[in-house]
């Protein structure tokens, strides 16, 4: 299954139509349907003592979102794309999960704002929960978005960091249908230096050789599709090495697999994807393991 249907989750101040435009390049890889989702957080229209349910406010906020989406939709319809819209009041995670499942989306696109740990705890969107419940890859854009580079779209030069987990391997499978829009892919494995028992050069060389061979096998899968692919072995701290490799290879996005166990253990806070989002200016695509999603 390619990336045919994309769920674009926006509060408007985080992701704009300009952030969607580069992703339309995926049309060459089968994208044909864009779903817009705007969630009006319940707090904004909550029932309050002495105030009552702010129905008029909910209607007003919905109409404001609707006007914006109509404008975006007209542009996309004219290009021959299929477009759908959800404007709902509720919890962001719940509504993203609901819309993604209802639409059977192949990719979710969301914004991420750097927050303190406390802010994250109270107002943050738990990406790991969305991954856990939908099993749909999530592409996270930095908020505020990095300056638009019209010559680069996220799938143009992805850096795929693999840990050989089922989620990492699923990330490879997920990226393959996007081959027609990938210019060059860099595949990175970061070996933990603490895991290299022994102090001889042989241990390090052996690790590199084995890893290199596995990377070459993945690279071959992409080169056979006409996509330029290069494997890289780094040794050290995962976070630092991924960050460095992304900069070194001028990556357009970082792709990570997130296993169920790691996702729930680390949650979103303190996780590698979140820290990368905080540090890098490019989007991060998180791909869950290929498992069945929960039923609604």
């Amino acid at each position: 299954m390619g990336i045919e249907k994309l769920l674009f989750v926006t509060r408007f101040e985080d992701l704009s139509f300009d952030d969607l435009k580069p992703l339309l390049e995926l049309r060459k890889a089968g994208l044909n349907h864009i779903i817009f989702l705007n969630v009006i957080e319940s707090e904004k229209v909550r029932l309050q003592r002495g105030v009552g349910f702010k129905k008029a406010e909910a209607v007003r906020l919905k109409e404001i979102a609707n006007v914006r989406f109509i404008d975006w939709a007209e542009t996309l319809f004219e290009q021959g794309l299929e477009v759908g819209v959800y404007i709902v009041v509720g919890n962001v995670v719940e509504q993203v999960v609901k819309a993604a499942k209802n639409e059977e989306a192949n990719l979710i696109v969301m914004g991420h704002k750097t927050k303190t740990r406390l802010q994250e705890l109270y107002t943050g969107v738990d990406i790991s929960e969305i991954l856990e419940r939908t099993h749909i890859p999530v592409l996270i854009h930095k908020e505020p978005p990095a300056p638009l580079r019209t010559d680069m779209h996220p799938f143009q030069r992805p850096l795929l960091a693999t840990a050989w987990t089922p989620a990492s391997l699923h990330a490879v499978e997920f990226l393959k249908p996007a081959g027609p829009v990938i210019e060059e892919i860099h595949i990175l494995h970061v070996a933990d230096k603490d895991a290299l028992n022994g102090d001889s050069a042989m241990v390090v060389q052996e690790t590199r050789k084995v890893t290199r061979k596995k990377l070459d096998e993945i690279c071959t899968q992409f080169t056979s599709m006409g996509v330029s692919a290069r494997g890289h072995v780094h040794i050290g701290d995962s976070l630092r090495e991924i960050e460095q490799a992304a900069q070194e290879h001028h990556a357009s996005m970082v792709v990570l697999g997130m296993s169920r166990r790691a996702g729930w253990q680390e949650r979103w806070m303190g996780s590698i994807p979140k820290t990368l989002m905080d540090r890098l200016s490019i989007p991060v695509l998180i791909v869950p393991a290929d498992e069945k999603p929960e039923k609604l």
């Binding site: 109509i70 939709a73 004219e78 021959g80 299929e82 477009v83 759908g84 819209v85 959800y86 639409e103």
Partner: protein, 135 residues
């Protein structure tokens, strides 16, 4: 036999309003909340008229309209587009899709941009399918 009108819109308030207009004018309404369900109902119910929104979940009115007009058994059902999407964008999208598939579709019998008054909707329906026939 009293004419049936299929109303396709994802907004429950709009659906209720349109249903009231249809009933007050003596027709029988049937409802669908998106293009996918609307197309299914068009196939099973064969309504006398379809009033179709464009921007909906699951399947847009653009796609449903094409499906109706390219289906030999449904293509003669008249359609009123009732949407916030501009008529010009609707036409351009149909031209683009026709370019992809090589299958052009005719224009809808009427195109009403939201919001419309109950009187305008009622008169448009009567113009297209005539007054309600009482059983």
């Amino acid at each position: 036999m009293t004419q049936t009108i299929l109303l396709v819109d994802d907004d429950p308030d709009v659906l209720t309003l349109n249903m009231t207009v249809v009933e007050e004018n003596g027709y029988i309404p049937i409802l669908a909340e998106n293009g996918e369900k609307g197309l299914e109902m068009a196939k099973t119910e064969h309504p006398d008229l379809i009033i179709l929104d464009i921007l909906m979940p699951r399947q847009s009115g653009i796609k449903m309209y094409r499906a109706i007009k390219l289906d030999e058994t449904l293509k003669n059902i008249p359609v009123i587009i009732l949407s916030g999407i501009a008529q010009q964008s609707f036409q351009k999208s149909q031209e683009t899709l026709a370019g992809f598939s090589g299958s052009p579709v005719p224009e809808p019998e009427a195109y009403l941009e939201k919001p419309v008054s109950p009187a305008e909707l009622g008169s448009t329906i009567r113009r297209i399918i005539g007054p309600a026939k009482n059983e």
